[in-house]
């Protein structure tokens, strides 16, 4: 038997239709979480089942897919999802942000600016920004209906009262198109400004929680804050140890058990691109170091 045992991009057509209808509503109501009949996927919850279902519903044979996990193209989650779609949909895959037409991401937005013909698909664990403040779905739903977001400001205020600043570092709540408060998924707050007025369409899929939401292109996305405590993106105060970038989001990597550490770009494609273009950091690989040492000696 040569016929494949599954449909193009894995999901059956009825499921795709259901997800596609949810995506259209999500785009029409920016930031509103549309319930959908999430399916079981051949991977556990928490591995991106929501993002995978959204990607499967939009993906076509001419798309070029990039998958990142915490900015990296090379982690287990990113590789397995990329292989999943290469196998089930036969699509071309890439690690280049610029070449991709669909980018599925877990917890980062690429450093390179996105363009109009791209779709960014986020994997979302807890789509409801108010869930840890109010556990009842009936109540959070009513709060969204009434645009009653005082509780979220109280939470941010309590941060300031306790720590002197807003201590929320990731999944920092945003307001979309001046209406819905939305969870940007657990991206670092460093990435929040990239969501505002972004030329690419942003889709969010939460598989376990069965919600899809969206930010259309060129839509206002504002991080919640106070006049006297304005929103500030955070990054480690260091250049990337490999490419020397001063304005990218950094991962802290512990290099031994004596407290040594290095800071490197979390976006691997961005970092590799900069290194290929001749940028170097303090801990760049051998060829550059040898050359530098040679020049110093000579």
């Amino acid at each position: 038997m040569n016929a494949p045992a599954y449909n193009f991009a894995y999901l059956d057509e009825q499921t795709k239709r259901m997800i596609r209808r949810a995506i259209l509503k999500a785009i029409a109501i920016p930031g509103y979480q549309v319930p959908f009949a999430s399916r079981e996927m051949p991977m556990p919850y928490g591995w991106g089942t929501g993002g995978v279902q959204v990607t499967a519903a939009i993906l076509g044979p001419r798309d070029v897919l990039k998958v990142i996990d915490q900015g990296s193209d090379d982690t287990t989650n990113a590789i397995s999802i990329r292989k999943f779609f290469a196998k089930t949909a036969g699509v071309a895959t890439t690690t280049s942000t610029d070449e991709a037409t669909v980018i599925q991401t877990r917890h980062r937005i690429p450093e390179a600016s996105l363009h109009q013909s791209q779709v960014l698909v986020y994997q979302v664990p807890i789509p409801e920004p108010l869930r840890f403040l109010e556990p009842r779905e009936t109540e959070t739903r009513r709060m969204h209906a009434l645009a009653e977001y005082g509780l979220m400001h109280v939470k941010l205020y309590e941060d300031i009262a306790r720590f002197g600043h807003i201590a929320t570092a990731y999944a920092y709540p945003v307001k979309v198109n001046a209406r819905y408060v939305m969870d940007p998924s657990p991206t670092p707050k460093f990435d929040n400004p990239k969501m505002d007025n972004c030329p690419a369409l942003q889709l969010f899929g939460a598989g376990r929680e069965k919600r899809i939401y969206a930010i259309p292109p060129y839509t206002q996305v504002v991080s919640l804050d106070f006049e006297d405590h304005p929103f500030e993106p955070y990054r480690f105060n260091a250049p990337c140890a490999l490419c020397g970038a001063e304005n990218s989001y950094l991962d802290e990597i512990v290099t031994d058990d004596k407290g040594s550490r290095m800071f490197v770009c979390s976006d691997t494609d961005y970092c590799e691109g900069r290194q290929a273009a001749g940028h170097h950091g303090a801990l760049s690989a051998a060829p550059y170091k040898d050359k530098a040492r040679g020049e110093a000696n000579g």
Partner: protein
């Protein structure tokens, strides 16, 4: 009497045609005012444009109650085609439907009669698919809102002539509201509930 064999066909390649049509509609919804083309073609029953037929095959199924305007509802060809290819139930109460198909704008009922969603579930609203004369000639309009970089322009000829005035109710209803998909042959433009349209004359 039409037998199944005489019905206009559906997509040749169900899976990839539906995907391509969906991406056109998704792009239309994400970039209001921008004209998208629907490439895959299916057979079309009388009164239905090529784009409308492709959208029906892509988005309709047994989960989506439909409302048809009087001309389409009278056509057994349309009813049989929809029933055979999509299985979507056609019902008479337009206040509870997921989609409304309008073959001719003069037959469009007052938009407030469709499902507008609730404040808790604004997604439970009717998407109106309206066939129009042209999406590249006619009156000029300026569009603003999410999905648009500043201002978008649209040239269109359609009925009812006060459609965009009627759609202004979306502004006060939000997040409730009606999303409209305009179809002219294979061209599609979406006007989601967040889009504000101004007539520019011409």
């Amino acid at each position: 009497m039409t037998t199944i064999a005489e019905l206009p066909p559906g997509f040749v390649d169900k899976v990839l045609s539906a995907q391509s049509t969906f991406r056109s509609v998704m792009d239309a919804m994400a970039r209001p005012g921008a004209v998208q083309r629907i490439v895959p073609m299916a057979g079309t029953p009388e009164t239905m444009m090529r784009g409308t037929a492709a959208i029906a095959l892509t988005l309709f199924d047994h989960d989506t109650p439909l409302w048809l305007d009087a001309r389409m509802a009278e056509s057994t060809d349309v009813l049989k085609w929809l029933k055979f290819h999509t299985g979507a139930p056609v019902i008479h109460d337009c206040s509870i439907v997921a989609f409304a198909l309008i073959s001719d704008g003069v037959l469009l009922p007052n938009l407030e009669r469709f499902a507008l969603g609730t404040n808790e579930y604004p997604d439970r609203s009717t998407t109106v698919i309206l066939q129009v004369e042209s999406l590249d000639s006619g009156q000029n309009f300026e569009l603003r809102g999410p999905g648009i970089d500043g201002v978008a322009t649209l040239q269109a000829a359609f009925k009812p002539f006060d459609l965009f005035e009627q759609l202004r109710f979306n502004e006060t209803l939000f997040p409730r509201g009606i999303d409209v998909v305009l179809v002219a042959d294979d061209a599609v433009v979406a006007i989601p509930r967040t889009t504000r349209v101004m007539s520019k004359g011409g």
